[in-house]
């Protein structure tokens, strides 16, 4: 047996006032994980920095780098070790990390995508119905045939307030993964940070375009599939396997890391009309605007008394809600 070596941190960049400690973790032959700090925290600031560095590195087109897979506080580099060694790769990443200005100065490219949503539409309602009938009769997260009241209960707010929170903030994509074309969306306004437990056991079917939440992240289902997120309603297609619509011609995926989505409420008829015009007529025009996230401005907003007060109030309601809401 080889000598024991479980130390997988191949290199680090020390913490300073401009950034957290950066760890380079071994992840097999062909992968390297870059981690921001040692604490398991969920804070958008880490993602803003990571995606800025990520964009610079991808822009350089390094020999042997296959792709990167950003999470919220870690980025996985996939490379061909026959073309670039892990040491060389670390050196390249370090150079970019060191060149990135103070995290406060970051202006991250971020598109803003407008998405219509129909709350509690009949299609997603069918999937909840199916769940209660076939998977878990009497499921406590299904109240009056849907999940909205349970989401409200968990967060100590009303159904109306839940809808306002979904509509009231831009949701930031920390990166894709898990399911083809998906993204994990976090609220830019922490006062809209709804948190819910996932279905237990999961659903066997969820329609395309379903908008749901599991833990702190919103997910828009790209294709019909099983799933465990609590449901709000339905939005329009964000993925197209067959690549018929011009938006999907070059790639079947809509979302990119750092995209923001903003929901606006529409009727179910309008959603169905758009489906037809994306998948069949292929003439629907998506509303996508280029933009930037200014970290300085976001931090100013985040740290403002009003927002901090709002976070505390919401947390208090959520603690109470968690106590009252039935466990799944």
């Amino acid at each position: 047996m080889l000598s024991k070596n479980y130390d997988v941190i191949l290199d680090t960049l020390p913490e300073n006032e401009r950034r957290l400690e950066i760890l380079f973790r071994q992840a097999g032959d062909g992968f390297l994980q870059v981690e921001y700090g040692r604490e398991q925290r969920a804070f958008l600031l880490d993602s803003f920095r990571m995606l800025t560095v990520n964009n610079t590195i991808l822009g350089k087109k390094s020999q042997g780098l296959i792709e990167t897979v950003p999470g919220l506080r870690t980025n996985l580099f996939h490379f061909d070790p026959e073309k670039i060694s892990v040491r060389e790769l670390i050196k390249k990443i370090k150079e970019v990390e060191l060149s990135v200005a103070d995290v406060n100065d970051i202006e991250l490219d971020s598109r803003l995508i407008s998405l219509p949503i129909a709350f509690e539409d009949s299609e997603t309602k069918k999937s909840v119905e199916k769940y209660v009938k076939e998977v878990r009769p009497g499921a406590p997260n299904v109240i009056n045939g849907y999940n909205l009241e349970y989401i409200a209960l968990c967060n100590g707010v009303s159904v109306d307030e839940v809808k306002k929170m979904v509509l009231g903030t831009e949701w930031y994509n920390s990166g894709g993964g898990f399911w083809p074309g998906g993204g994990f969306f976090w609220p830019m306004d922490p006062r809209c940070a709804i948190v819910v437990p996932k279905y237990n056991p999961p659903r066997t079917w969820t329609p395309e375009g379903t908008v749901g939440i599991g833990g702190p992240c919103i997910f828009t289902y790209t294709t019909p599939t099983g799933g465990g997120y609590q449901l709000f309603g339905r939005t329009i297609p964000v993925f197209q396997f067959k690549q018929k619509h011009p938006l999907f011609k070059n790639s079947p995926f809509l979302y990119k890391p750092a995209d923001r989505i903003k929901f606006h409420e529409v009727s179910e008829e309008e959603i169905l009309y758009i489906y037809k015009h994306v998948h069949e007529e292929t003439d629907y025009v998506y509303e996508i605007r280029d933009g930037k996230i200014s970290v300085r401005e976001w931090l100013k907003f985040f740290n403002s008394d009003e927002v901090q007060k709002g976070i505390k109030e919401l947390k208090k309601k959520q603690e109470e809600g968690t106590r009252k809401a039935p466990r799944l």
Binding site: Y6, V8, G28, R41, G71, P81, G176, P180, G181
Partner: protein, 328 residues
């Protein structure tokens, strides 16, 4: 072309190395579970090693050929027969229009057989690969396992069919199959001292884990970790309440060993690309084929400590096998 008479337990169109570069879009590479057997099958029939062939898991595949062809059968010994007469494995075989190829079930050792066809299986490329991702229902033949009546066209053979018949693999290059599969692995991303105890890591690298019968192309589930103080943490911080939880991170896929609660799960070709559980080690690329031959509910997997350097050397050595010199 061939027409499927009996689809068997799970027969899929797979190539190698699958769909590279879409992990961040939630798409695993897919591809052959045992790429060594597929690559040899292709070599025998004069194809590039990564060409698409058929992966037969478990057994019972039966098909009628609609054209003259040259094929090869590699992997587990499913007692291949043509028109009910036994044919050898690890050799190329001339097939005439109307012949019926029939496989029984998996042999004493190993679980998957591969059928190579001169010219390859002609299914459309989807995002750069012909492989089927069963988990996501895309790629390969209509994104699914084969069914009775399916007709699969072949590509054009690189050489005259007659010149390809009777090619034989040298005995010494035919892979050895085992009851207990030894997989060389590199520790990471989450090991001792911060996530797992040293005792826990020792356990992972010494125990022979039974492969559970619930294993499939997404995940090879191994028997529970028990009688060892495994976790170095009490909980997963913002990542969740169990010490195996972590804030969602990308998985070094395929080959990462996920720790889900107390169950080690080896993420294989169709597996999830991102999730909220820690990963303790990664099987090196060169050895990952072995798990694809592990018989669920029968075989064992044991992890042998390895290093980046050893892994790169092993990849090169293995890659050199798929050339004419390996033929008799």
């Amino acid at each position: 072309m061939l027409r499927v008479i009996n689809s068997g337990i799970e027969t899929l169109v797979e190539d190698w190395p699958g769909r590279l570069g879409y992990l961040g879009k939630g798409m695993a590479t897919a591809g052959a579970m045992d790429n060594v057997a597929l690559r040899f099958a292709n070599l025998l029939v004069g194809n590039p090693p990564g060409e698409a062939g058929l992966e037969v898991a478990g057994g019972y595949f039966e098909a009628e050929f609609g054209v003259d062809a040259v094929i090869s059968v590699t992997g587990t010994d499913m007692k291949p027969a043509i028109n009910n007469e036994a044919v050898p494995m690890w050799e190329s075989i001339k097939i005439s229009k109307g012949d019926i190829l029939k496989l029984s079930h998996f042999g004493e050792f190993s679980f998957r057989a591969y059928i190579g066809v001169a010219g390859g299986i002609d299914v459309p490329f989807y995002l750069g690969s012909k492989s089927t991702c069963l988990f996501g229902s895309y790629g390969g033949f209509e994104g699914r396992k084969l069914q009775r009546g399916d007709v699969l066209p072949f590509g054009r053979s690189s050489k005259e069919l007659d010149s390809l018949a009777g090619r034989k693999l040298k005995k010494e290059v035919i892979p050895e199959y085992a009851r207990e599969w030894h997989l060389r692995a590199i520790p990471g991303t989450n090991t001792s001292p911060d996530y797992v105890t040293e005792e826990g890591m020792d356990y992972l690298f010494t125990h022979a884990f039974k492969i559970l019968h619930t294993s499939n192309r997404s995940a090879y589930r191994l028997e529970e970790i028990k009688d060892v103080n495994f976790f170095a943490r009490k909980d997963g911080g913002d990542g969740g309440s169990h010490p195996s939880n972590i804030v969602d991170h990308a998985y070094a896929m395929p080959g990462a060993l996920n720790i889900c609660g107390n169950t080690p799960v080896l993420l294989v070709l169709d597996g999830p690309t991102l999730g909220g559980y820690m990963c303790a080690l990664s099987v090196i690329k060169t050895d990952l084929w072995k798990i694809g031959q592990g018989i669920p509910g029968k075989d064992f997997a044991k992890f042998i400590p390895s290093t980046q350097e050893e892994a790169v050397e092993a990849t090169q050595k293995q890659g050199a096998l798929f050339c004419e010199e390996s033929l008799e």
